[in-house]
Amino acid sequence: MDQSSAQTQQKYTKRTWIILLVVVILLGGLLAFAISKDFIANEIREGDTEESKELVSNTISADDSEESEGFGLNESWEDESEESEQPPKVAPVIQKNPSSSTPTSTPVVPSAPVATPPTTQKSAYKDGTFSATGTYVAPGGKEPIDITLVLKNDVVTSVTVGVKAKNSTSRNWQNYFVQAVNPAVAGMKLDAIRVDTVSGSSLTQIGFMDALAKIKSQAKM
């Protein structure tokens, strides 16, 4: 029994060491995690800024890809038709509010979840009205487009697009963009006014709307 008790003593010691090692590793891991969480939170916020800034320059250059699709009848328009009720993907609406704890998002860039920052954050941008002329290369050549933004508390409160293209096709695409991006101008609700009848575009027949509905369901992901 001496041998077995000796073995048992050895085993006991070995097991203890193993347990101690595991505990140390776990503790160490917890500690490292706690430290890194803080570190990552800061990294993410900085990364968000970078992405937002890129979005601004991208939206101007993204017009390039829109232009080149203007002449062809590309499949890529299949996606665009789904977005008829929203601004198109190139909408330069930037919502950046670091004092908010909810994730900010644009139609193109999904934002990473942001840890709650301290509430005494300073504004990143000045309030006011800012204008710039962006340029891009359309199939017909370099074209300008005027953008005016009104910023208040780091939120874009209005966007106005000025059609400046020289080529008439480019002007047409810029007008299409104007329609999508300019703030919706409200009229008056029909049931709030006294009228005998309404004049507008033709109400489409069942055939056309049915075809549209079929296409929408085909095109859905």
Binding site: V163, Y176, Q179, S199, L203, T204, A211
Partner: protein, 283 residues
């Protein structure tokens, strides 16, 4: 009375008391007349005259009612330098707005010039090569005029016909809402009309991919600088064709040959209207 015809919704209001039998007699006459009209002018019916012209060149004899329609197109074609053309049918069809409503764009080609494709000397129409004609720019307005004539022949003195936003009114002044092109439950304004017609055109409803119901035959794209146009004229036919013309040329050019009032709503929501367009705007 309300019904569906030529791809849109019709509402006819008779502002006087009439018997049920007269009303159903009127409705029957109207629907029969519309069927005859479609059999001639619709590119959506497989056995119409227009469909035959798209398959077979040759000399055709047009029915009586074609004169006013083709005369209007001849004038519009000349004044707009070919931007408004009955030969737009092939472009619309290739863009997807075909008889099957496929809404799948194919390669677009500019249509032939008028005299390359046709020779029009009423009642004869020589189709030099098969072409798909589309008469939508004036066809609906003209049909509303024809229906209004049926009512007048039946001694109806006061009525309002509204065929998908194209209106012929007689007997009393009415207030017409100008439908907001981006919100069918709202209006951008209200206009008052008497014994006249008002037609509206906008790119919001018959719209697919990058197109709407008006396509520029030279640039092969749908104009986007205008959101909506309304024209008031003495007939539906003229009011209708002028709304299409205004997408392509300035009002001054059309005022040489036509008497009308108009309101144009541009893409940036600015408005241009004639002095005689009596409206109250909400924008």
């Amino acid at each position: 009375m309300e019904f569906q015809a030529i791809g849109t919704h019709w509402k006819i209001e008779i502002h006087e008391k009439i018997s049920d039998s007269l009303e159903s007699d009127i409705l029957k006459s109207i629907q029969e007349r519309i069927a005859i009209y479609e059999k001639t002018y619709s590119r959506f019916l497989p056995d119409s005259l227009i469909t035959e012209m798209s398959k077979r060149a040759g000399e055709y004899v047009l029915p009586d009612d074609a004169k006013l329609l083709f005369d209007a197109y001849e004038k519009a074609y000349r004044l707009t330098n070919g931007f408004v053309t009955p030969l737009i049918g092939s472009v619309l069809s290739d863009a997807g707005y075909d008889a099957n409503y496929s809404l799948e764009p194919k390669k677009l080609n500019s249509p032939l010039a008028w005299d390359e494709a046709m020779d029009y000397q009423f009642p004869k129409l020589m189709i030099k090569r098969p072409v798909l004609i589309d008469l939508g720019a004036a066809g609906k307005g003209y049909l509303v005029d024809i229906v209004a004539d049926i009512l007048r022949r039946k001694e109806i003195k006061s009525f309002t016909i509204n065929a998908g936003g194209d209106i012929v009114n007689e007997g009393k002044t009415i207030r017409v809402a100008l439908e907001h092109p981006n919100d069918a439950t709202s209006a951008i304004g209200v206009v008052t009309i008497g014994n006249e017609s008002i037609c509206g055109s906008a790119g919001n409803r018959r719209a697919w991919k990058q197109f709407h119901h008006i396509i520029d035959p030279k640039k092969l794209e749908s104009p986007r600088h205008i959101l909506a146009v309304w024209v008031i004229a003495s007939s539906g036919r003229i009011a209708d064709i002028l709304t299409t013309c205004l997408y392509f040329v300035k009002p001054e050019i059309l005022q040489k040959d036509f008497v009308f009032d108009y309101l144009i709503l541009f893409a940036d929501f600015t408005v241009e209207k004639s002095q005689g367009f009596k409206s109250e705007l909400f924008i």
